[in-house]
Amino acid sequence: MTERKPLFEFKNVHVKVDETEVVNGVSLKIYPGETHAIMGPNGSGKSSLANALMGNPSYTITKGEVYLDGENMLEMEPDKRSLAGLFLAFQYPLPIPGVTVANFLRSAVKARRAKDDDMSDFRKTLKAEMDGLSIDHPFAARYLNDGFSGGEKKRIEILQLAMLKPKMALLDETDSGLDIDALKIVAQGINRFHSDKNGILLITHYQRMLNYVKPDFVHVMMRGKFVKEGGPGLAMELEEKGYEWVEQETAQKVEV
């Protein structure tokens, strides 16, 4: 039997923003087909970790290693990481005035294909994926995130996920700002994308999303570190007892 290799792996990652260390040494292995969730209170470093993994220049990885499918992500600019199969659904997607959803997605899809590749299937695929996420077709002609509601922005992020089909998806607070109907639609979109070949890392404050996208593992992050790990049951426990419970528990551990 051959040894199973992780799809995505980061080791002892430290992240600095403006000279402040916001992530202090976290490690994780995600194997093909797995869904992991990072949960934690606000300011625990979850979003900073996601941004740093994707290569946001405002976040510096001062120490650690990041690999996707054996490729060293830290040697790559964000565009190369994306083409290698990494994806980040943003917590607050920025408006890009004057650039339509369709044109933007066309450029992004095109970047993945050979130069002279036929793009005639693009429109059809786009429409099908929009239908799957209950996004009206005229949205394709609107400027990306410009004047979109919070829920619309999140759906468009998942539309990008569906169109770009990455190997590894980091979903940063994709559930925030969604009402229950929108949450279900977005979760269905994520589940349609998910296969035994790709991986998902959900970053969330609340357990709510995990009712619809079932994680195999849950990691609790506090003050820039993973402080507790467990199965899907951990999310339920957190929902019940709150983050203070983990805080007390880890404090006790330190005392021992």
């Binding site: 994707m54 290569g55 946001n56 220049p57 405002s58 600019e77 964000p78 565009d79 990481r81 994306s82 083409l83 994806f87 980040l88 943003f90 997607p93 920025l94 890009i96 005035p97 004057g98 650039v99 933007f104 450029s107 992004a108 970047a111 993945r112 400027y143 990008q160 770009l164």
Partner: protein, 444 residues
């Protein structure tokens, strides 16, 4: 030599008498206007640096040394410009083409299609005889002898220009195109355009400025132009000003428009060319219900220098004006923008908006923005805003995180920045302008 003597010397250097002497073949009223302009030019001192509107640009740059003006190569170059323009005109969705060859010769194609409608597209020199009462009524009325030294220079020295007249109640669906070709090195030209849009009429004009010296070593060229547009009651005018001149020309342009009750005016000012360009776009809202919108787009590269003014003059109440002036700069280019909104004491319940946005693509570019509000009554709704800065790095990160290279991300964001202006243009022009933008984003 004393300072006083120096000053005298410089003033006589720019004496335009000899040039103006050639231009006395019109009717008496025109000769009087020219002589008056000449006098105003001579009597008006060169504006002092630091004075209003001259803080960022040296006025002496627009005064050429007459001895160096040879103008020998003008005609050879014009022939090819004319040939290309006429063949393009046939393919384009244009109703009529007027080619202005350095203001020395005006050639019109396609006007015959519209003669039955009473539309006049003509050289100014012909119109002076064919439609004397119209030309006399309107010419020099918006940009006259009191406007300033450089406007007076044009008033004295224009050879020939373009005259467009659309009578009352006519709609011209396809745009009219004017193509000005400035002379090559060591030449000067004084383009002049007069447009009158009759009551309840509708007209689109594309006014394109091209040509000029391509090599500053061989010598630069100068252009000093004036445009006057009258929008009569309930008329609808769209005017596209396109400056895409060569790299070694210095240009000074003054555009004035006056619109009456219920009339609307859309001005789109697109600036890409020239070494040094000063442009002044002014619109007077002269009757209730008049509406004016100015969209500006300027893209500077290399060491280009642009200095723009806009004026929205609300002389009547219940009028509305809106300005969006967008600037993109790269390399070592420079832009200054001064936007004046003036609302008179009796012009109540006006709306006036002004926005100037500057995108700096690299360090070493410089943009200035000076909003000016002169609002003489309180019953108005008015706002202005300005931004100057580089592209938001988070926007670049967002696009690169989807696989676009950094330069592709920048090109995408800039194309988006200019999109709202491009979408107002007729299709064939939109493609050309988007081509100019792409060209200027090469190797970014």
């Amino acid at each position: 030599m004393s300072v006083e003597q120096l000053k005298d010397k410089s003033e006589t250097d720019y004496n335009i008498e000899e040039l103006a002497e050639e231009l006395t073949n019109g009717p008496d009223w025109l000769t009087d206007q020219r002589r008056n302009s000449q006098k105003v030019f001579n009597d008006t001192p060169v504006p002092r640096r630091g004075l209003h509107l001259w803080r960022y640009t040296d006025p002496y740059q627009f005064l050429f040394n007459r001895e160096k003006m040879t103008e020998t190569e003008v005609s050879a170059n014009h022939a090819s410009v004319e040939k290309t323009a006429v063949s393009q005109f046939k393919e384009n969705n244009t109703s009529c083409l007027a080619i202005d060859l350095s203001g020395r010769e005006i050639k019109i194609s396609g006007a015959e299609n519209f003669q039955k409608d009473g539309l006049v597209v003509s050289s100014l020199s012909r119109a002076v005889t064919s439609h004397p009462e119209l030309v006399e009524k309107y010419l020099y009325q918006l940009v006259g002898n009191k406007t300033g030294k450089f406007e007076a220079m044009n008033g004295a020295l224009w050879h020939d220009g373009v005259f467009i007249y659309l009578p009352d109640g006519k709609q011209l669906e396809k745009p009219l195109h004017i193509l000005h070709d400035a002379g090559r090195e060591n030449s000067s030209s004084f383009p002049r355009v007069l447009i009158v849009v009759g009551k309840n009429s509708e007209l689109t004009v594309i006014d394109e400025y091209s040509g000029g010296s391509t090599d500053s070593e061989k010598g630069i060229s100068y252009s000093n132009g004036v445009v006057e547009i009258f929008g009569e009651q309930d008329s609808r005018t769209r005017y596209v000003f396109l400056q895409r001149q060569a790299s070694a020309i210095k240009s000074y342009y003054t555009y004035r428009s006056q619109i009456e009750r219920g009339a609307s005016m859309l001005t789109i000012a697109l600036s890409f060319g020239g070494a040094l360009t000063k442009q002044n776009f002014g619109i007077t809202l002269n009757g209730p219900g008049a509406e004016s919108t100015i969209y500006g787009l300027l893209f500077g590269t290399d060491r280009q220098h642009f200095d723009n003014h806009t004026i929205h003059q609300h002389s009547a109440g219940q009028t509305r004006s809106d300005i969006k002036f967008k600037v993109v700069l790269r390399d070592k280019s420079v832009s200054a923008y001064t936007g004046l909104i003036r609302i008179e004491h009796d012009a109540k319940t006006c709306e006036a908006y002004q926005e100037n946005r500057n995108l700096l693509l690299n360090k070493g570019t410089r943009a200035e923005t000076i909003p000016e509000l002169e609002i003489l009554n309180e019953d108005v709704s008015c706002s202005h805003g300005a931004t100057i800065g580089p592209i938001d790095p988070d926007m670049v990160f967002y696009l690169t995180s989807r696989g676009l290279s950094k330069s592709e991300a920048v090109r995408t964001i800039v194309s988006g920045f200019v999109a709202d202006i491009l979408k107002l243009l007729p299709d064939d022009l939109k493609q050309r302008i988007s081509g100019f933008v792409e060209q200027r984003l090469e190797n970014i």
